[in-house]
Symmetry: C2
Subunit: 371 residues, 2 copies
């Protein structure tokens, strides 16, 4: 894990960090429904490798504009590559993005939805979201004590008076959760009640979400250290044939957070912003969400009280243990959670098959070897 | 407790809230060394009652400009009013401000240092810090789950997708911690290392510090609900005759936070900003702080593991219990903590004497009855 400790702070500019990491990053996109999306991001994404996971009908062709380095997977590819394990990847839902996490061999993943465009900061400058995510992932997190001036590793700020010196080294950062200008990420009831609300507030902050605190992780604009937390970034069973939708990223976020807390890693939220261009249909969303809205009332206390044993020293081991606790404690909420627990195990089996622990690191392997 | 729930959100403008609360607020200032201070705040403070607690030589006269409604206490007053209990109030240290908290009969306290001036927001508008604190205190807190768009009760924002509906009512807000532009609140070592660092970043956010998370509370720009958390806002023993300084607000913050967590109240940080005009002398600060810097390494684990029994249903009861745990667990760190534990008990005795629980509310009593 490469950390920019306080001594090195400021010594690596954003551009330098991005250049170094070019070969260590994959951008994962769950389908692309409009070409405008990639054109808007061209300046920022062209240097990187894209993994596109088509979420619907495999016979439909996704046209990727020239100049991008990409691999594209559809449902037929998922079935071919995973065989009997393919059932753990959602169909007709953006939850399928985690197939891209599975196939990548890179250290860092940035995942973004195709209705997220380049936002501008208050000075009018276009925001390089990926660069900010990498800054967040490369600098330590501070989950054990709250710093009132927010990210102490950012230029122009530091730990404030009263922050214990023993905690100032920080811990590795597992994930960076970015935000959205314009259309906020609201649930269907809030969308229905506030159809016109737009997020216009640019909050110039990055902060670590404290240890023991859960948050609603949105998959629209998200980056993570795949070597650390990749195995916990499973987006569950959503979409076609499933009783629930729009809880894929939430599920991944809760699992990922309790595992990061257990393993001593940090999770950040705040910058960078993207421009969320269009609100999804609140009536469709309500249908997808309604079971989640009441199941969630039992899921949150479950995740708040999850305890992982000391023997769970890797994200994989934690995730298998978590799947057992899901089956034992949430199976009684709905039969769906037994199926989900099975899929969580299948996901880890697939992860270990495609990412054998003794395998050489990303530099030595062609990426996306299956295609 | 008057809460502005989500239904009422936006129905009470800042000005209206401030007007209603005029009779429910005291501004407590630990000494005034320059007249410029009150002149700068005149437009915002003149409608309110001030309690000034002079921290040094009682023979020196503090001149308060005409037009302000105030009461002024010096060391002689403290001795006269508290008698044998006066030893719990620090001398020659801004920790003496808590004497003002004790004497006030108002529901809300705003306390500010005399080197804190009016800041401007990014649009150039002068910030009415007190008004923002009152907004923070009047709207609920959300300590049990993190909202990624920050304060969900603020205009233009809400709870995001995945935030449990059962937690959206929020809880009463006990305290509002404001921030500082210009001179950041750094400890002596950081001041020495970064003498030129200035805080220029205006982060347009208010957030609840999650339950179970400690933070470094600065007393420069702070407001709280005195009826809820007043008895825990004791600023300890600092200054003349004490082995430590500059940990008064930190101590109050840690005590106040664990008690708020136990009683189910929230603590917010973020807006409003004040303009912190001058850095204190880092060499003097180092002398005051150095014991705190290493004691703190034992204090934080102590506060992180404090558990208060169910019988502790008020801030007073919690505080007495906390004083016992301080004696039992920190007495071995240094004899100072036994003395501090004694003073914590004396403070509560003084609180109960001056604030008998059966006493009529603020409206019925002249404020600062002792003078």
């Amino acid at each position: 894990m490469r950390n920019l400790g306080s001594e090195e702070k400021g010594s690596m500019s954003g551009t330098a960090a991005t250049a170094i990491l070019k070969e260590e990053v994959d951008i994962v996109i769950p389908t692309i429904r409009n070409l405008e999306f990639l054109e808007m991001w061209r300046a920022f994404f062209e240097p990187y490798h894209l993994i596109i996971v088509q979420d619907g009908d495999p016979s439909k062709l996704i046209k990727v504009p020239q100049g991008f380095d990409y691999e594209l997977y559809n449902r037929n590819d998922i079935t071919r590559i995973l065989g009997p394990k393919a059932h753990c990847i959602s169909f007709k839902d953006s939850a399928c993005r985690c197939f891209g996490f599975l196939l990548s061999k890179k250290k860092y993943i940035f995942t973004i939805d195709d209705d997220c465009f380049v936002a501008k900061d208050p000075s009018g400058k276009e925001i390089n979201a990926l660069e900010q995510h990498l800054k967040n992932l490369l600098s330590p997190s501070t989950p054990f004590f709250f710093n009132t001036l927010y990210d102490p590793f950012r230029e122009g700020t530091d730990f404030v008076r009263g922050y214990p010196f023993s905690l100032r080294e920080g811990v590795p950062t597992a994930a960076s959760h970015g935000l959205w200008l314009n259309i906020p990420d609201y649930d269907a009831p809030t969308q229905l009640v506030k159809p016109l609300e737009r997020n216009t507030r640019y909050v110039d902050a990055v902060m670590t979400i404290p240890k023991g605190t859960l948050f609603p992780m949105c998959g629209m604009n998200l980056a993570f250290n795949r070597e650390l937390i990749g195995p916990a970034m499973y987006f569950g069973l959503m979409g076609d044939g499933q009783p629930i939708g729009r809880y894929d990223d939430m599920w991944a976020g809760w699992c990922m957070k309790v595992i990061s807390d257990h393993l001593g890693w940090g999770v950040k939220t705040g910058l960078p912003y993207i421009w969320h261009s269009k609100a999804s249909n609140p009536f469709v969303n309500l249908k997808k969400e309604y079971k989640g809205i009441y199941w969630q009332e039992e899921l949150i206390p479950f995740f708040q009280s999850v305890s992982l044993p000391k023997e769970c020293t890797t994200a994989q081991k934690c995730y298998i243990e978590l799947s057992k606790q899901v089956r034992a404690k949430l199976g009684k909420v709905d039969e769906y959670f037994n199926k989900l627990a099975d899929s969580m195990e299948t996901w880890i089996e697939a992860w270990e098959e495609l990412n054998p622990s003794g395998a050489p690191k990303s530099d030595a392997l062609p990426n996306g070897s299956a295609k």
